[in-house]
């Protein structure tokens, strides 16, 4: 079987400027942020990003000036950021194009892409102003006469995602919620998966019910422990509320965000140095989950 293991730098170098991209995870969970920081270091520009419910993953790329256009449903991060701050600032200053869909519509669009279909019908989007501004088409069902909305498939050049376990050949296991990772991956031409842990084929093949993305759909595997920090990874580490607050504060202005990038992306220059910059092993130990729960019940989350 093929060995698809690459370093972060090698994997990020697969992504040229100007391409379309989707990113796995959901709000504060399981985004491939180590890969995203490496894209920023490599000065990738003019990306078109398709997303459903993104958090500071997409906001990081926006703030670093990597994004030309966005199509998606939601960019925020709960109490850390009721609106993703770079997204808001770039939108209000017309530095990024945005087309709005609902989460179910984006789910249907990625699913159509994964299914090899040009569209899927949905009962969402009807009665919204998103209908007219997006590529959604209204339809009367030829069977029932009911009103439906047809949303066009999303196919992206790349999907970047982060999972708990992968084999060198690219078989992926996800623990906890899947979010939309499977459909996003299968809707992409090239899939780059970072993982907490590289495991033997034999290990994952013992429980085939628990594997989510087959190797033939995956092109590169990048082992990166803590590769989703400051986001959480179920059963591995919790999100880092201090860093998410720090991110959100920094993302309020161009100047502050440039300083953030210098401190946490360009300055450190590598993932290991990034982990040192965010507090090193001492801080990471505080994010360690309870084995039965998958998160750290003792984590201090309020400021």
């Amino acid at each position: 079987m093929k060995n698809k293991v690459l370093t972060l730098a090698q994997a990020a170098a697969l992504v040229p400027s100007g391409k379309s991209l989707s990113i796995g995870g959901f709000t504060s969970q399981r985004h491939p942020t180590a890969l995203l920081r490496e894209l920023i270091r490599q000065k990738i520009r003019d990306l078109v990003i398709y997303y459903h419910s993104a958090g500071s993953d997409v906001d990081l790329l926006i703030g670093a000036g990597c994004v030309r256009r966005l199509e998606g449903a939601y960019l925020a991060d709960g109490v850390f950021a009721p609106v993703a701050p770079n997204f808001r600032r770039f939108a209000e200053s017309q530095r990024v194009e945005i087309v709005d869909y609902s989460n179910a519509a984006m789910m249907a669009r990625f699913t159509a892409g994964a299914m090899g279909l040009p569209f899927l019908p949905t009962r969402s989007m009807l009665g919204t102003d998103m209908m007219a501004e997006s590529k959604t088409i209204a339809m009367n069902c030829p069977f029932s006469g009911e009103s439906l909305a047809l949303v066009p498939a999303v196919r992206t050049d790349f999907c970047l995602l982060h999972v708990q376990q992968a084999t060198a050949n690219g078989l992926l296991r996800i623990e906890g919620q899947e979010f939309l990772d499977v459909q996003q991956a299968l809707a992409a031409t090239t899939v780059i998966a970072s993982c907490e842990e590289l495991v033997d084929e034999a290990v994952l093949r013992k429980e085939p019910e628990r594997n989510r993305i087959p190797a033939f759909a995956v092109h590169a595997v990048v082992p990166v422990p803590f590769g989703a920090h400051p986001h959480g990874v179920h059963n591995r580490y919790d999100y880092d509320p201090e860093h998410l607050r720090l991110f959100s504060a920094a993302a309020q202005s161009d100047a502050a965000f440039a300083a953030y990038l210098e401190r946490f992306v360009f300055g450190p220059g590598s993932h290991d140095a990034y982990l040192q910059a965010v507090g090193g092993t001492e801080r990471l130990a505080q994010l360690r989950p309870d084995a039965g729960l998958g998160y750290n019940p003792g984590l201090r989350r309020a400021p």
Binding site: Q29, A73, Y74, R88, A91, A104, F179, L293
Partner: protein, 256 residues
Amino acid sequence: MKKAVCSTTELMAVTAAHEIRDAEVVFAGTGLPMLATMLAQRTHAPDCVIVFEAGAVDPRMLHLPMSVGDSRTLAGAAQAAGLFEIFNYVLQGGRVDVGFLGSAQIDRYGNLNSTRIGPSRQRPEVRLPGSGGSADVAALARRTIVIARHERRRFPERVDFRTSPGWIDGGETRQAAGIRGGGPAAVVTTMGVIRYREGTREPYLASYHPGLSAQQVQDETGFALDLSDAQETPPPGNEELAILRREIDPERIFLK
């Protein structure tokens, strides 16, 4: 009913919790909806089934999640699925009894805006996060409960952008738009609770929070409210408040 001194957030959480009936399937978003559903499950609706769009089905949460994707939504869950299953099989499949929605703007007929403020698409005055699952829940849940901060600028006659359909233009206009789900049942605000008349879908003030008057609520609302049925919002019970404060949000993440 034992009366208790409480904050507006606490009152809203308890008031919203009362909208949930036992064994209902509840689609919950981040923030107050989580407080409300966790409270309902610990009090009058122990068998309510909570679903989160990120993938958790029917959890027995022990710790307050900070977002719907939080691992804390999985504690004791029946299923860890994903957006595909929740939006298709649960929501669009017609299995959600009550959905909770927040909004930056809400208009006369309960339409919501969480996309942008201002008349221009190209130059938004304020860019908001976008629909997320709001438009979907608004269209497909059997009924929806909206949670909103009550300020006149947030309650215009008509939203700047209709992200999530409420009763559209009132009367039969929602059905005419081809929307299947039930529409907004209540808007729980920082000042009171708004509901809608059968048939006309005109809004009326069902209750104003303790310390306020019906007229004060009207003054902070950009459209006319029928005040004729307005009563004072029942205060939370002591036990409800104790559960909220001690068990559900001891860190004061959402509770103010």
